[in-house]
């Protein structure tokens, strides 16, 4: 059986137990995009101003996962676990605020570029006005509501898994989701109708 066909849990165990790097690569190839999206959502407006932060956060998550996969006990889906690690890495990244010289230089350059939300034409063309407005609405939600809403509604993760990942009761997750949905719909002016 090739690594591509193996279950996430099997691959995670292979990495944790025997440092099977093919298993690790397969997991990253399978879920890397999800981790990027989770990190992007957690970073909020910071990711929009400096997309490089997403790369940094994902890299940090990859580093952490070299070891963190050992702590995955299989009680939820691995995808949720990886998304949670990516999100936490992104938030830690924000909190600590790196002061590396290259980062400062990049930040200085970015500071001269108007935020896409405020109408930067290049960014708007690249991403599309509709997507820009959706991202702006999403960015206005506070964490963890923003990530919860995204991971549940956009990525289809189960409330049960999210409760484990975020360390919150399921009831709290549901109420946060309901509140976030209502808020984003209100902000959008009911444009998207009802599911």
């Amino acid at each position: 059986v090739s690594g591509d066909d193996l279950d996430d849990r099997v691959l995670a165990a292979r990495w944790s137990d025997s440092r099977d790097e093919d298993a690790y690569r397969t997991l990253m190839a399978r879920h890397g995009a999800l981790m990027r999206r989770a990190a992007y959502v957690a970073l909020g407006t910071a990711a929009r101003r400096d997309p490089g932060m997403v790369d940094d956060a994902v890299q940090e998550a990859c580093l952490r996962l070299l070891d963190a996969l050992r702590s995955f006990r299989g009680e939820s889906s691995l995808a949720t676990f990886l998304a949670a690690v990516a999100r936490r890495s992104a938030l830690d990244h924000l909190r600590r605020g790196l002061r590396h010289r290259a980062r400062l230089e990049r930040a200085a350059r970015l500071a001269a570029v108007p935020d896409a939300e405020s109408g930067d034409p290049a960014a708007a063309v690249e991403l599309g006005a509709a997507a820009q407005s959706v991202l702006a609405l999403l960015s206005r939600l506070p964490e963890p509501d923003r990530s919860l809403l995204y991971l549940r509604d956009a990525e289809g993760m189960k409330v049960f898994d999210l409760a484990l990942a975020f360390g919150l009761p399921e009831g709290t997750i549901k109420s946060k989701l309901a509140r976030a949905r209502a808020r984003i719909r209100r902000s959008a002016g009911g444009e998207w109708g009802t599911a």
């Binding site: 440092r19 099977d20 790097e21 690569r25 190839a29 890397g32 995009a33 981790m35 990027r36 999206r37 990190a39 992007y40 959502v41 990711a47 997309p51 997403v54 790369d55 994902v58 890299q59 990859c62 580093l63 952490r64 070299l66 070891d67 050992r70 702590s71 006990r73 939820s76 676990f81 949670a84 936490r88 938030l91 830690d92 909190r95 600590r96 590396h100 290259a102 991403l127 599309g128 997507a131 820009q132 959706v134 991202l135 999403l138 995204y150 549940r152 509604d153 956009a154 990525e155 289809g156 409330v159 049960f160 990942a165 360390g167 989701l177 949905r181 984003i184 998207w192 109708g193 599911a195």
Partner: protein, 147 residues
């Protein structure tokens, strides 16, 4: 189990909103990681073993269950001696751990290669940040999730 089924049944999901969010985020965040540099599995395995479980590593005692990842950090930390870190013991970390770290991370990685290459002077918050990656309690929400 019973409660899980009940919970799943009551899991509401706004797929219309989710679809919009997913498309927007996907477009903005990029589709995927750019892949990993090609090191042969055999070569990487041996390097991992050498780097992670080398007898006498000072990391063995401090980060026993985390040696694979911590070795990479130690290489970085060793390189930051000019910033005031003690390097006694750390200098013994094999350079192969750097190769492992580089080989297993996404190509688009930036800060670790920058830090490890010695370009710029990693110190202060940057150094704390890297060291803190494997130190529990460094996050307001605790360490990584365990489930």
């Amino acid at each position: 189990m019973k409660s899980k089924s009940r919970n799943e049944a009551s899991d509401e999901r706004d797929e219309a909103l989710g679809g919009i969010l997913r498309n927007a985020v996907e477009a903005a965040a990029g589709q995927c990681l750019p892949g990993f540099p090609g090191l042969s599995a055999r070569a990487l395995s041996s390097r991992l073993e050498e780097a992670a479980w080398a007898p006498g590593d000072w990391l063995r005692n401090r980060y026993l269950p985390r040696l694979g990842a911590a070795a990479a950090v130690a290489v970085f930390i060793g390189g930051t001696a000019a910033a005031g870190f003690s390097i006694s013991g750390r200098a013994r970390i094999r350079s192969s751990s750097l190769e492992v770290a580089r080989s297993i991370m996404p190509e688009r990685s930036r800060w670790v290669p920058e830090a490890m290459s010695g370009e710029g002077v990693p110190a202060g918050a940057m150094a704390d940040f890297v060291e803190g990656l494997w130190s529990s309690g460094n996050s307001a929400e605790g360490f990584w999730p365990v489930f």
